[in-house]
Symmetry: C2
Subunit: 340 residues, 2 copies
Amino acid sequence: MPTQIPSGHKENSYQAIDSHTQQNNPGTKNRICQLFGIRYPVISGGMVWCSGWRLASAVSENGGLGLIGAGSMHPETLREHIRKCKEATEKPFGVNVPLMYPELETIANIIVEEKVPIVFTSAGNPKAWTPFFHEHGIKVAHVVASTKFARKCEEAGVDAIVAEGFEAGGHNGKEETTTMCLIPEVRRCTTLPLIAAGGIGSGAAMLASMGLGAEGVQIGTRFALTEESSASPAFKEFCTRLNEGDTLLLLKKVGPTRLARNRFFEQVQEAEDRGAGKEEIAALLGRGRAKKGIFEGDLENGELEIGQNVSQFKSILPVKTVMEELVSEYNRLLASLRPM
Amino acid sequence: MPTQIPSGHKENSYQAIDSHTQQNNPGTKNRICQLFGIRYPVISGGMVWCSGWRLASAVSENGGLGLIGAGSMHPETLREHIRKCKEATEKPFGVNVPLMYPELETIANIIVEEKVPIVFTSAGNPKAWTPFFHEHGIKVAHVVASTKFARKCEEAGVDAIVAEGFEAGGHNGKEETTTMCLIPEVRRCTTLPLIAAGGIGSGAAMLASMGLGAEGVQIGTRFALTEESSASPAFKEFCTRLNEGDTLLLLKKVGPTRLARNRFFEQVQEAEDRGAGKEEIAALLGRGRAKKGIFEGDLENGELEIGQNVSQFKSILPVKTVMEELVSEYNRLLASLRPM
């Protein structure tokens, strides 16, 4: 229920704290859990064609924070998903809003009307919309791939930062900074609550992220391949057969995107190898390729956006099992570490 | 002193153990420390033009394992560095041997004659030389960038595996698998002692690596920028001014290599953008560029091999300070983590 979340941005005052020392302060609850009113600092990414109400509500019901991905929805479809999500869970959930979205104002108003408590924004400047959401008592996290944009988040007054590395599926930063290198840099440049993303889908990677200075994780690929994900069964099954090296960051001239190897991938790679320009690549990409691949299951001609860690996941599990495995693996591995 | 290392491969029997659960078993000493007879499971990479006897002996003297990089040395130069290293420290140290080295047999014999206790091999098939080194009581670790080669290491009977991610400076795997994604995959496919490399230069990244399932770390960039590194002062100073995005993996058609942005980098990037073929790129690269850049300090025309985490390091420190910071940060951050 949205009202479980403390409303209003001004009521939250984060102390300026030493980077890296705060994240699991003894006696203090994890800041990401506090901010969003959740049990585990695990967020499911708002992935196009995967993150509908079923996935979001399942993640929230199991103690994480589920996000609905507005990027692949018409405004009224988003409203329907929000309503179904509220029916399916009383726990907090959020909506991911790409700030390049053509009908941004319409969906921002729907989010307010439907009393969604949390918004994750991405692909744009957080300054433009953070004040609007805050005025309506909505928490805002913004996704970045560099410290440059993390600083913009501070200026914009967001409540939390998601720092996403090169490993992540789909759209990606041009610096190619990996999660291992990005998280400590962002941790050093901001005192805001920090969520790591990119290559995280296991308790091991979650522990690594917390070691690097994050206070929570956003997980895409592992949740894209759950029973509750809206992706086509053919896409999910295809992904469980991928191996190391079967995703690469392509489309660098039009906007770096991590894709799985298929016929379309080979076409892009061939064009890029021979130095094709931005216009040719954009024409080859066309429109609607991600829907075709991920939602409709066209494994030859679709744009198959998925993260590099996909090769680790060989079965389609329910969200409940994924959450249990994440938490138990995290705790088991943490207990195995010893000081030097 | 080399004889501090238990000699002979057959004397070591590693139990087949559940992946991920062994690495810091209570009551058991870390396997990497045991294997090499060192205090901290921290290895300095055998980097061309950086890893001479000064760096290697300083790392070993301070509780890690220093490696001399044979890749940039004539055979008799290597012998000289080994002798000086033995004079400078009684602690164990090793030599990194790229298996593509033209005078491989000569340097393998020098390593045996000089009683070097540990060899790290890279860039080739570990089957060819592991038996030779083992016959002479030398421990062998092999560097890989994929599980495919990790399996070859098992077959070759190496004593430990270094799994190096996309973040690493210099030569790199074509799969572009990052450390965050690579370590759990390799951990799952082998029970051998596992050392993580690529993007590791802080206690935070070391903790992350151990969380991912590694039992030790190999650190390049952070040690390349120490006082004891043989790199030119101009190169080191240049590196401390690099920012995020200032290194990229280039030269993919001739052999993927992570380079820092300079005039040569821009030339390669321009050629690659317009689809230049393997021959043109190889001609542009020519020979001796890494020496020119790293050792001679030609910051315009040299090939500046350095890791992606270079942007985290803003000062040239002595090895002793680096080691102390690594260990204290690791311990501090580990103590701050809580179960979920």
